[in-house]
Symmetry: C2
């Protein structure tokens, strides 16, 4: 699981910082999460192939999470894309993108499917045999969802030595990986446990931005490996957090602590701060394993 | 008159090049012309004060001239703008920007006025006592206007020595600058020509992008000091120009030559070319005074 931060600063794009966007590589998928202005340039800077992005998840329709999307959709067309593109986001996103394409008489030459979200409860929005994506309803000034990405438990791993020892043919491998025992020609039953190792533990990633402090998400994100949680403010501006429906670093840490996550990544810093280092310090008063997102930073888990 | 090129490349924003946007400083105005994605970052890089921009002119609603506008309008709000903002552009621009603001529940705290354009004939869209702006109807895949910025003839300049010689009091200065003769107390009439110098010649700037080859604009832009004309293609791709309703460098030069302009600035280069230098060479076969726009370049006239 590999997370590339394309942008992680609040509000307006600036010379050195970008609004929110990130790419999660998980089980051969390359999911784009949010798409602030400048995302396509950030994709290029970080050498991420446009053609590998087939699913885009938009948390909410504030500009700093969304205004890079029309340009990206257009660029896909200019690049001659032919694969389907799926966009998941709040109701209204289809009208917005469609209107902009219509005004420019620039229809896509690929299939563009919008999955508009309206539910206040968590729902699975994407699922295949390897991974699922569920919404995490958040609390912000407009309708907002975080997203919970979960690998599914994979096949059991073949124990090559054991298989050789029992002289089991390749024809059985498919079933063995799926957990079945094997009946040898001499009538002996070999239990699956002798022939396989446990599959790797499935990984999980929760993306929560933007949101006010919302402890009721803890149940859903319990024990995730990685939590990206917004922390717009430091303690010195703690009073602004509830007003603007954002969080402080300490509040993000409190969520991480209650959910007992593996790693907390902070981001969505207000651009008023000259250094982001204090975010880590304040969060670590409550939760130890804190990382700071920054534009261009790559996390591998 | 000062022109700052924020971006002058066609199609998609890239790491090193930006889509179209430029700032024209003329008679204390700072006019923003087109607003591709990333324009607000380019404004910062070029140290142009956001608060000085009160008028934005959008040629057409293709993304590379327009997708930076929603973000800029939002940023003005975040910066606490209170001055009115006027946006001139094709019909539909109001619906697009308004929808995006509505979806983000992010109304502006300043007066935002749209001047939507639909005419196929040139019209004056802005005018005060110092400058006028007229549309230049262009020929592109969607409804498109260039813009012609003209300084007005200023007041005559007082000849301080002559005024002193005739002992003319300050009370007369206002009228003298506006061209009146002066009757001295001894009954002598002093002609205005003796008391003033001609005002500086008014300057003019024509912005023509995007457009196919359209010789009928020549009458309107005859003798302008500076013409910015798109030149998407070199001769090697000349066949693509009429298909996509763009121009080659040679076609831009032909327009400049027929209109007998002072300086031709080329821009809107296709991103297929590794170097823009050949654009100048091809244009100069037809018209001598050619400059190449490039991102961050400043022209003073």
């Amino acid at each position: 699981m590999k997370l590339t931060i394309l942008g992680c600063y609040a509000a307006t794009p600036r010379t050195m910082t970008n609004p929110t966007s990130q790419v999660l590589e998980i089980k051969n998928h390359m999911f784009l999460i949010d798409c602030g202005e400048g995302t396509q340039v950030q994709l290029r800077k970080n050498r991420i192939k446009f053609s590998r992005i087939n699913h885009i998840f938009i948390s909410h329709l504030h500009g700093d999470h969304f205004f890079g999307l029309p340009g990206l959709v257009s660029t896909f067309r200019l690049l001659g894309r032919d694969k389907d593109l799926h966009i998941y986001g709040p109701k209204g996103i289809k009208e917005a993108i469609t209107l902009l394409m219509k005004l420019g008489d620039s229809w896509t030459n690929y299939q563009l499917t919008f999955h508009e979200l309206t539910s206040k409860n968590s729902e699975i929005v994407f699922e295949d045999d390897k991974v699922s994506v569920a919404t995490i309803p958040l609390k912000h000034r407009v309708y907002t969802n975080g997203f919970l990405f979960r690998e599914k438990l994979g096949e059991r791993k073949l124990n090559i030595e054991a298989v050789a020892k029992y002289q089991i043919g390749k024809a059985h491998f498919r079933n063995i990986k799926q957990g079945t025992d094997v009946l040898l020609e001499d009538g002996t039953m070999v239990s699956n446990k002798k022939l396989t190792f446990d599959p790797p533990k499935p990984k999980s990633y929760a993306y929560c931005s933007d949101t006010g402090y919302k402890p009721d998400i803890v149940d859903q994100i319990k024990n995730v490996d990685v939590l990206y949680h917004e922390s717009t403010f430091l303690e010195s501006e703690a009073l602004l957090a509830p007003k603007t429906k954002h969080c402080t670093a300490k509040e993000a840490a409190a969520i991480a602590n209650a959910a007992d996550v593996g790693t907390l990544i902070l981001g969505h810093y207000s651009t008023r701060y000259k250094s982001i280092a204090p975010f880590k310090g304040e969060a670590q008063d409550i939760f130890a394993n804190v990382e700071l997102a920054d534009d261009g930073k790559v996390f591998e888990f």
